[in-house]
């Protein structure tokens, strides 16, 4: 079954002078963050209920950065998310039902049970289904943008953007280096979101890189680089907003490095006892922090925020209920064919 096209939420860009518009953006941002957190939580529960084959990875603590990336894109852009990007995926247009279906391995999911969990995507929407190999998606985004340039679609000062995610660990993959360099050589409107969550699985930054700050690499690649506090929702919106705007204007590739902490194990299976209380005490939870800020600023009340959570849980429950009634893949009905053109002995006309 071909993935069904789905409607992307339309995201108007905020006018800096218009506080109502900025508040609207901030609220929608928090909404995606909450939806992602609630969905991640529910996936963990479904795993415990044995309804999810395979692993569950969450973006706990990284929602502000990820959601900002996804919501600052628009239809026609390309997004290559990774395992911590539930928030960004949703904000870019992934449907809740497809998340649930794919995690359950349902026949109705975009991956038809042939692939699962975070490897889902919808190429028609520009949402790339990641392969596990860290760094591998970035050159694919480069290729997509090059294709658009060949096709005459990369002209003007409001370009489409290709966004890719990477972590502090993945930043050291050879593939990442090759891809980022190629994006710079081609001067493409690419935005690389680097979520520095201090740890790659269990390995801390001091064993994964030796430069002072990952953003220092931006200049080395010929990227414009900027940093933000990944636990500060407004800072994430501002930094990524600026990077995306620069890319759209044709200023070439952009790197945004967020400092934050993974507030969960690597996957659900990982108790992450290597993360010390001292380290934990240095980082807040972006959702709590943003909720407090918006309350203090009088943008949202306690009840408003409670409603965001309730709405999220209601939407998710409906999707889970629906997915549970849907069929699993049937080995007997599989084509078991890996080729788009299985018969190469027929004469090409």
């Amino acid at each position: 079954m071909k993935p069904q096209p789905q409607k992307l939420p339309s995201i108007a860009s905020p006018k800096a002078s218009d506080p109502a518009s900025i508040n609207d953006l901030r609220v929608r941002h928090l909404r995606w963050m909450i939806l992602a957190r609630a969905l991640d939580d529910r996936m963990c529960k479904l795993k415990a209920q044995n309804l999810v084959p395979g692993s569950v990875f969450t973006g706990r603590g990284q929602e502000a950065f990820s959601a900002a990336g996804g919501m600052l894109l628009r239809p026609g852009d390309v997004f290559a998310p990774l395992i911590r990007d539930q928030a960004g995926r949703l904000a870019f247009g992934e449907t809740i039902i497809d998340v649930v279906r794919t995690c359950m391995g349902k026949r109705t999911s975009s991956m038809r049970g042939r692939d699962g969990n975070i490897h889902r995507g919808n190429i028609d929407l520009g949402l790339l289904p990641m392969i596990s190999h860290l760094g591998a998606m970035v050159s694919v985004v480069v290729g997509m943008l090059m294709a658009r340039r060949f096709q005459g679609k990369l002209v003007g000062n409001d370009l489409c953007v290709g966004m890719a995610s990477i972590g502090d660990g993945g930043m050291n993959a050879g593939a990442l280096h090759e891809a980022v360099n190629a994006a710079a050589v081609e001067k493409l409107p690419m935005v690389l979101l680097v979520a520095n969550n201090q740890v790659a699985y269990s390995t801390f930054n001091d064993r994964t890189y030796a430069c002072k700050d990952l953003v220092d690499r931006a200049a080395g690649y010929g990227f414009n680089g900027q940093s933000c506090d990944g636990t500060d929702a407004a800072a994430c919106l501002a930094a990524i907003g600026d990077a995306v705007a620069r890319a759209r204007r044709g200023e070439g590739p952009q790197m945004v490095v967020a400092t934050l902490l993974r507030l969960a194990g690597h996957g659900l299976h990982d108790p992450a006892d290597y993360i010390t209380p001292e380290l934990k005490s240095r980082f807040g939870d972006c959702i709590q922090l943003d909720s407090n800020t918006l309350k203090i600023q009088g943008v949202l009340s306690e009840q408003d925020i409670e409603r965001l959570w309730e709405d999220a849980r209601t939407l998710i429950s409906a999707a889970v209920e629906q997915a549970q009634t849907e069929p699993d893949p049937d080995p007997g009905q599989e084509t078991w064919n890996a080729y788009a053109e299985p018969d190469l002995k027929k004469v090409r006309t």
Binding site: P129, I131, A136, M137, V140, Y339, E341, L344
Partner: protein, 325 residues
Amino acid sequence: MTIAYLEAIRLALGESLDEDPRVFLYGQDIAGAFGGAFKVTKGIAERHQDRVLNSPISEDAMAGIAIGAALEGMRPVIEFQFADFATIAFNQFVNHAATIHWRTGRSCPFVARLPVGGTPGGGPFHSQMPESWLSHHPGLVVVAPATVADAYFMLKDAIACLDPVMFCEHKYLYYHLKADFDKTRAEHLPLGAAAIRRGGGDCTIISYSGMVHEALRAAEILSRDHDLDCEVIDLRCLRPLDTETILNSVARTGRVVVATESWPFGGVAAEVLALVSSEGFSHLDAPPRRLCALDTPIPFHPDLFAAHHPDAERIADVVLETMAF
């Protein structure tokens, strides 16, 4: 008109660029007047400057870029300077390109041009044959043209193919193989069909790429000196494999020798022998045999190199052993 194998590749690339705006070439040193390490793109690069681009030395990114561009509707052709360097792109080929159709239902049409095979003095890192490890992965099409006409037609068909095609072009044949070529008259087989290069009833010699010419020479020797009539099959496409042509031939001859320039362990030759043994067992009058390169890295010195891979005389010897069984 007589042209070399390499010129046939250049012709196919030039025509593809002329005819199809979706086609672009990307690889190291291929652009401009330079025209590539082997000069395959010389002339056409200058004609299509906007669609013949030099890449950094980034084989993983080259393959990833081909995947991305293919998903956006282009028909990328990426050139590796030597097939040996395709190991760097292994991940993008086998984990990414090969899995996209299965995982998503989308096709991922691009061609990776891989200059394969040994030449005297090439040594361990400029001589290898990657077809066995590429063929192992479902989702990749792996082809290895042995003739001038195939170099042309198979490349055009590879560019038209909806799947990622690993196009193994033999470096020794680039300039050493020349043939009269008229594309309106030359034989144009489908991409996935094996070719019977010489008919015969006594023994089937199966080969592909540069080794086809040694197999043909072996058949000549056996005919001249031993009055044996060997059938020579050029597999052309290694994945998917034309099992029908192989099994039909073995049914006629009852004897089979597979000759390749690759290593024996887990290779295409082993696959063909497994096929013949399991599905053609009742036709066999003698154990099926293979003759591959020696099981070491590829040597540098021309004398060592000559001893390392099969030649016509050694193929003929194995056929005689098979006949004597």
